[in-house]
Symmetry: C2
Amino acid sequence: MAHRVRVIEDGSVTTTPGFEAAGIAAGIKADGAPDLALVRSAQSCVGAAVFTTNLFQAAPVVYDRATLHRNPTGLRGVVINSGCANACTGDQGLRDAEATAAAAAQHLGGASGDYMVMSTGVIGQLLPMDVLLAGVETAARGLATTVEAGHRAARAIMTTDTVPKEMAVQVETETARFTVAGMAKGAGMISPNMATLLVVFTTDAIIDHDLAQQALLTAVDASLNMITIDGDMSTNDTALLLANGEADMPRIASAQSAEYAAFCDGLTRVAVGLAQGLVRDGEGATRFIEIRVTGAANRAEARQIGMAVANSALVKTAIYGQDANWGRIVCAVGYAGVPLDPNAVRVWLGELELVRDGGPHQIDEERASEILAQTDIPIRIDLGRGDTEVTVWTSDLSHAYVDINAHYRT
Amino acid sequence: MAHRVRVIEDGSVTTTPGFEAAGIAAGIKADGAPDLALVRSAQSCVGAAVFTTNLFQAAPVVYDRATLHRNPTGLRGVVINSGCANACTGDQGLRDAEATAAAAAQHLGGASGDYMVMSTGVIGQLLPMDVLLAGVETAARGLATTVEAGHRAARAIMTTDTVPKEMAVQVETETARFTVAGMAKGAGMISPNMATLLVVFTTDAIIDHDLAQQALLTAVDASLNMITIDGDMSTNDTALLLANGEADMPRIASAQSAEYAAFCDGLTRVAVGLAQGLVRDGEGATRFIEIRVTGAANRAEARQIGMAVANSALVKTAIYGQDANWGRIVCAVGYAGVPLDPNAVRVWLGELELVRDGGPHQIDEERASEILAQTDIPIRIDLGRGDTEVTVWTSDLSHAYVDINAHYRT
């Protein structure tokens, strides 16, 4: 039997057995919205994480990297605040991250080195530690294993997000049955290689640390690294996987095992689901744009082309305006930096083959308008160079994007 | 005596002795705005040009590249149309470019290989050749050496530009006195390495072809390649220099000569003036942003940092919103790809040193708001890695940008 991945309706991080969560309004955000989340496991967890590649790494990123290095198999949970990114905050920021983890240990059990911390919000401001530490104590009292508790956590990590992003799947193989769940936030500063993007995955799978890390990289590469909203990469991006090993299954100890393949598949499904959710909720987004790049010589060039088109302000505004301005698509393909033959490139909007042999082909403005009037916009670009394909996702560039970002701090 | 460069008020391409120009409404644009320009020299010209690096090269770019290669010292002029880019138009597009040059020869004298052509406007549509050819004949009858004729040409090459961009300088050395003038168009698709950017420089300097080409590259590298409006690079970018050799001076035949230095200086002054004019007239621009990157190890990394900040949608919207959100600046510095030490980076807004030692320094929101209320926004970023500095220019990202680009074709 091949493995099976089934989506669990109304899933949350607490859908995975053995995990509790909480989400409260601690008072970090001026408007009183929820701003503090906890996720805790009853058992010690194997951890895996990927972080932003921005050189300005926020204090929680620096702290988490060191913590995971010291304690890759004994993690108990994570404290996440929104409203303040604790980025560009120097030594004090790092001390605040440590103090947050210490408070988690005090109220949730275990040692301070068992807890990760994440922050998202405005860069360059110190965390209001009195409010935050009081919040950790309050949130700890509200921890619950219910799906509602997971939903509250997913809401508490939102900033300019308008809806929480959550997903859970159940994975079954001949020998194993386990859950993979996740929550994510991020609507601006979303870009290649992650952004003000925080993701927490929970699983009860039993898996070695190095394989968990490898599976996370694989899943992120096909999901979070394939989306862009505005091309900006943040200082705080973190995706964390906590595996508490409570499932009834043999340990996943080989990358060649059927169970590892199943785990990768389940994790990727959740990661893609969350990534698509992030794009759909992109700042000011009115369209969900799927750009499938086919006929590439390799994944790197396929992604390069897809991202050039996805990040083009002219493509994004044209789609916002429901204008089938395909010239802007080929223009972005042409400057992406891949040494392709322009005459071999083909471009489709839905089923319409717009470009072929270096010029317009099947131009049907009426049908194009119909396609562009829908929420989901399918674009395909064939490079005619090979057999590799990659899909990237992005949103359009609207007036609302400018509204949101012109006055984010004020 | 060192050379002297003096700006000539109210300059145009016809400020240079020996050049005539015309600009008319030929009927290419549906709204009846001027859309066809001619620039002609009485004498044969040494030509030099730089073109877009986009792989989808518009037909006029392909045509001009070949023409300049065959005839580097015998050019007579250029025909420029706006409203239709003649890009992604296959073999027919190339035939149309050739026919345009042939019409120029017929009505202006000389051979078809003596004329360059340029087009800007919508990608993927064929030129309306009957209208265009009739227009060339009409425009030829209107050729004049007056500055007003130059102004008419500068207006006829505009698309979403709101004002024409023109400049002229007079250069004097001990042995020479000559003029360098130019006109440019482009307000969207402006990006590193040129864009839907058309520039024509005229000069009466006497200069060898290879030195003219070298001087053009030098001038463009410090001007047109240092601006970005939306990060999109077009299929049509062309900057053309026509040197008719009518000045009373010794031939510039050595890159070590004082006259060559003076020529480069004058050409760069005009190129920077036009480039800044393009940014000030950027689509929807409400701010002119000057980003000076200092303390870099070399020009390439300085430009890379400057362009990352200049292209950040988050930085541009923050400045539009008059929000001193410096975190977005350091964030862009951090993902630009230069391996710098974040703690060595310093950022100034005007005279305010916002960032130092990896964190906020001289934060004065009131003073920052005053600076951001002005039209010209000076930002300085010091990398602490060396002695090289570079300046790039960009505009902000406003609601009007989205307006203009969501409905460009409709």
